[in-house]
Symmetry: C2
Subunit: 607 residues, 2 copies
């Protein structure tokens, strides 16, 4: 009897979803979906390299060779071998990075600001005299006194965990030590040859970038990116916040996932930097949006979800790394950048810092495009910010053949003479279309008259056809995919994109109106973030998302939030500046801006 | 067959040890030893009131009625019913306070200093405006701003745990709250009617005294004392420190025991103060000797045990109560007074504070008598301190019939016309002799010529007899105890007491010599501590422990350390003074004092 069932399978963190017939292994489903898992044994279930994790849904029974290959911990976490497992219902599947044959695109580079080395932690080499019957002072007192006498440094306290081991450390190191001080607190006591490192993290909703910095030289020793493991628990911030609000257990899981990611980063960054050890990390700086910030600290989120979207915490805060289970230097802190509003967080501030926004005299517009888009208008040192609910279309979600910027994603596209040319990430076979590709497609369809100004798809073009719900434009046909399903842009996709780009355009317009400026007054537009780096600015202008000003006025700065986090790690002055700026920024709630609805309706139109 | 074995059984925290024949229940052993356990059923094993805990040694098998009566947790902790259990080897038995028919003497009262109410925590009632779309500031920012505007108070941080619940608290309390601030940190957010209480603790080696204070009125709401549950793990500080050093597990147990005691105190104090709740406790102050301090914080102790006896931590420290598992207000701190030296701790400083020692112009001698005796000489604001290893004789240990100040202990004694008169605590039948009784006995024996100046016991007195190891003086004979063993002072006891009192006298002499003073120059002698309160000063002068100056120059101030801890709780100024004084005190190590050996040898003589 032939199994005629078929199931919807969602592969995360790739953001790929499709319908697959029953009876084919998840390894084959992945291939059909257009991406490859590592498979050294060719699907025999022996190499154990095609590990995937079943997040939800029912699958076929666990086989003996899977039990042999996977660890007890992996089995408990529902890891399976993709080549041995079959869907028995709709599934959500998590694909660990190490199982992917080609890595995802994880941008860590960005335009780096020049900041002077002046970290919040300072190190001193100290030689103490050993105690004697005529000098039996306490070990803490002895250390304080030596620091003051030898370096003129006045300390007031010692971290509790450092205290626990201080007496033993002093003796085992023969009274010659390296002391790390943060403000007036001793946070680490080490051998004199020990290094003082710091980790900066851009905690994004989708991607997390980490940087390991030598705080004695300001040199970046390593940089790496990982997917945010919270993705399997909700693609966008609202989904995750809602889960956290509904269930304390989910809130704990979400927190654990982000902490796990920070721990992974600290280990990977150390591995990449020859011989670095996590316990040499004396300070961590995290820049994230308000939601990521709150989930990381397991702060209440109910008031963040509901209007007026109030952060529980907006000031910068410092917590002990160990209080959230991070194994770095004993007394190390995690510094979280301040938040500006419920949907404008520390990552936006970090970006503004990285581009030194507040130094701009002529109007500067700084845009962080994402599921939520934050925009700031800077003019003569005054900063006004808005947040736009641009939605997950740029991440490929809610788009028929959308996917994240993973191998096989069409990221650029040109339509000329009814001929289509596209580029995929890593040159792989096309699997779907990611944000920048979607934007190019939209722009090309507009330019070729396939879509009118209102977004209506016209018939007549050879690549336009009718589907069940309306028209669609075929980018890669079934034949071109050897019988796989076609990659198309549907009328519904166009509507989704119009809403997304209108949200951003509305934000820009509201900010300009508020300062009585017009598009042409903008001296500079800074586009930040991974999506913003790959976005074709011309396409974005064509569809009316970005202002139609000369391309020379645009700057794509890459992961500026990460660079800003690094600046905050390296420089106490930068840290203080961010906190000062955070208090001065004026936040405008778009929903209550004058003429919001009218502005939005106008912004929907394509040019 | 008759069981002819006999076993040594030690009852703690009473400090009673004796030899008992096999085959009699521990309930009967207790009676023979001279104290009563609660026994409503008369030893049938049904009322469950004579609970005791087997700390070490082997006992008879657990019976069904014990399984029925004791909880699983109690069984796991080796609790048994005293009426049902028999010794099978030498034992150490812990007698919980609730099983004793008469309570132990636990002094909590003392001479209370007058300090102005000025606690480190301050409370403010704040009314906030609810957030709106046009005012969506973060909850933390809103609170900071209101505190500054309504009370002129500038806060800088909010305790992490308070932050976790801040957003919910503000909303559930309808934006009207009571805020507790410590320095510049918000440590608690409560309903406006909530109280601000504090707990002061004198963490003694043997006894722990606690005080619950209303920090808005400085009124003491309740006071209580409990035995230090560490006793079963070592009677004196050196025994406990050695255990902690030898085994990390024992160090953890010792820490857990003292934390357990603090938790018990907080609950009992609240029960005694009508309607008080532990979460209303916003600050805890602990004064203890250096060993108790280190064991409480699980600090390393190796350097404390070995010469030159160096404290790991000597400065005052503040730790979050929750970081050591105490359930009080979420952000409450435990403040530990500074230590002066390895064997002069925060309890001595608290005592000096309570008697306002540093205000003395004429020479003042402040003495804390205990297993370790701390003495300070104060003169024109200068304080010099020594520590004397007086040993546990005053607690009744190492004395043949010694015991702690529990019911049945002979605490005062008079020998006249060969007739002996004694007083027991609670007027119970005599069970042994406690510190003050031992001192009286020694003095009386000296005055009656039974002991010569060198401490040699003379024959000829009708109450003096020979025992296996030498002479002994019979206080209560076998006949007077109806066949129980006699209560005596042996020649060995006298030697033990001579060493103890010589240690103290040496400390006094060294301090005086150092300032070129003689006994008669002392303007005032303050004797603190429980033992010091019951000590007959005349007896102490008679045996040459205290200087022979007019009795009017002596002051017995009771539990001054507890009073000092309370002062530090009530007054920030007092707290700062203690820290300042701690840095200024000069500590002299007796072992390296000039002529130490000669001084000690002279001090051994009885007048």
């Amino acid at each position: 009897m032939i199994d005629k069932r078929s199931f919807q399978i969602e592969f995360q963190p790739l953001g790929l979803r499709d319908q697959f017939p029953a009876g084919i292994s998840l390894l084959d489903c992945a291939r059909q979906a257009g991406f490859d898992l590592v498979s050294l044994c060719g699907g025999k279930g022996t190499c154990g390299r095609c590990k995937i994790q079943i997040v939800s849904g029912n699958v076929s029974e666990l086989l003996q060779n899977e039990k042999d290959t996977l660890s007890a911990e992996e089995l408990a976490k529902k890891y399976r071998l993709a080549c041995q497992v079959y869907a028995e219902s709709d599934l959500v599947v998590n694909v660990p990075a190490e199982s992917l044959s080609a890595p995802q695109r994880l941008q860590v580079e960005g335009v780096e600001p020049v900041v002077a080395l002046d970290p919040i932690i300072q190190g001193y080499t100290v030689s103490l005299s050993a105690p004697s019957l005529s000098d039996p002072r306490g070990d803490d007192e002895r250390l304080f006194e030596a620091l003051e006498r030898q370096h003129g440094v006045i300390c007031k306290s010692i971290d509790e965990e450092v205290l626990q081991s201080l007496s033993r450390s002093l003796r085992s190191l023969n009274w010659n030590i390296s002391v790390t001080i943060r403000n007036t607190e001793i946070v680490s006591v080490d051998p004199v040859e020990s290094r003082r490192l710091g980790m900066a993290v851009d905690l994004g909703t989708t991607k997390i970038a980490g940087y390991l910095v030598d705080l004695e030289t300001a040199k970046t020793l390593s940089a790496t990116g990982i997917m945010n493991p919270q993705i399997s628990y909700g693609e966008d911030v609202v989904a995750r916040l809602t889960r956290a609000q509904m269930s304390p257990q989910d809130a704990s899981t979400l927190q654990a996932k982000s902490l796990e990611a920070l721990a992974t980063l600290s280990i990977e960054l150390c591995q990449e930097a020859d011989g670095a050890r996590p316990d040499e990390i004396k300070e961590i700086v995290v820049a994230g949006n308000t939601a990521m910030h709150h989930l990381l600290l397991r702060l209440p989120v109910e008031q963040l979800i509901k209007a007026p979207h109030v952060p529980s915490v907006s000031q910068a805060i410092d917590i002990k790394a160990r209080s959230v289970g991070l194994s770095v230097a004993p007394g190390a802190y995690v510094h979280l950048l301040p938040n500006i509003a419920g949907f404008v967080g520390g990552d936006h501030l970090a970006m503004l810092l990285a581009i030194k926004a507040w130094e701009a005299e002529a109007p500067l517009m700084a845009i962080d495009i994402g599921t939520n888009t934050e925009i700031s208008l800077v003019m003569r040192g005054e900063i006004t910010s808005v947040s736009c609910a641009s939605g997950p279309a740029f991440e490929g979600a809610h788009i028929s053949n959308g996917m994240r910027a993973a191998p096989g994603a069409i990221d650029h596209l040109l339509l000329a003479d009814q001929q289509i040319q596209y580029h995929t990430i890593h040159g792989s076979k096309p699997a779907g279309i990611c944000g920048s590709g979607i934007f190019d497609a939209l722009a090309q369809l507009v330019l070729n008259g396939v879509i009118d100004q209102n977004g209506r798809m016209q018939g007549g073009h050879p690549r336009v056809r009718e589907n069940k719900t309306g028209r669609e434009f075929v980018i890669v046909s079934e034949e071109e995919r050897n019988g796989g399903s076609a990659i198309t842009i549907t009328q519904e996709d166009v509507r989704e994109l119009q809403l997304a780009k209108a949200a951003i355009r509305t934000g820009i317009t509201v900010l300009l109106k508020e300062k009585e400026l017009s598009d042409s007054d903008i001296d500079q537009v800074v586009v930040a973030g991974a999506f913003g780096s790959y976005l074709d600015i011309s396409s974005a202008i064509t569809v009316g998302m970005l202002p139609a000003i000369p391309l020379s006025r645009f700057r794509q700065v890459g992961n500026a939030a990460g660079m800003g986090a690094k600046a905050v790690l390296i420089s106490k002055t930068a840290r203080e500046t961010v906190q000062k700026v955070a208090r001065e920024i004026r936040y405008i709630e778009l929903a209550v801006a004058p003429d919001f609805n009218k502005t939005f309706m106008q912004a929907i139109s394509l040019r």
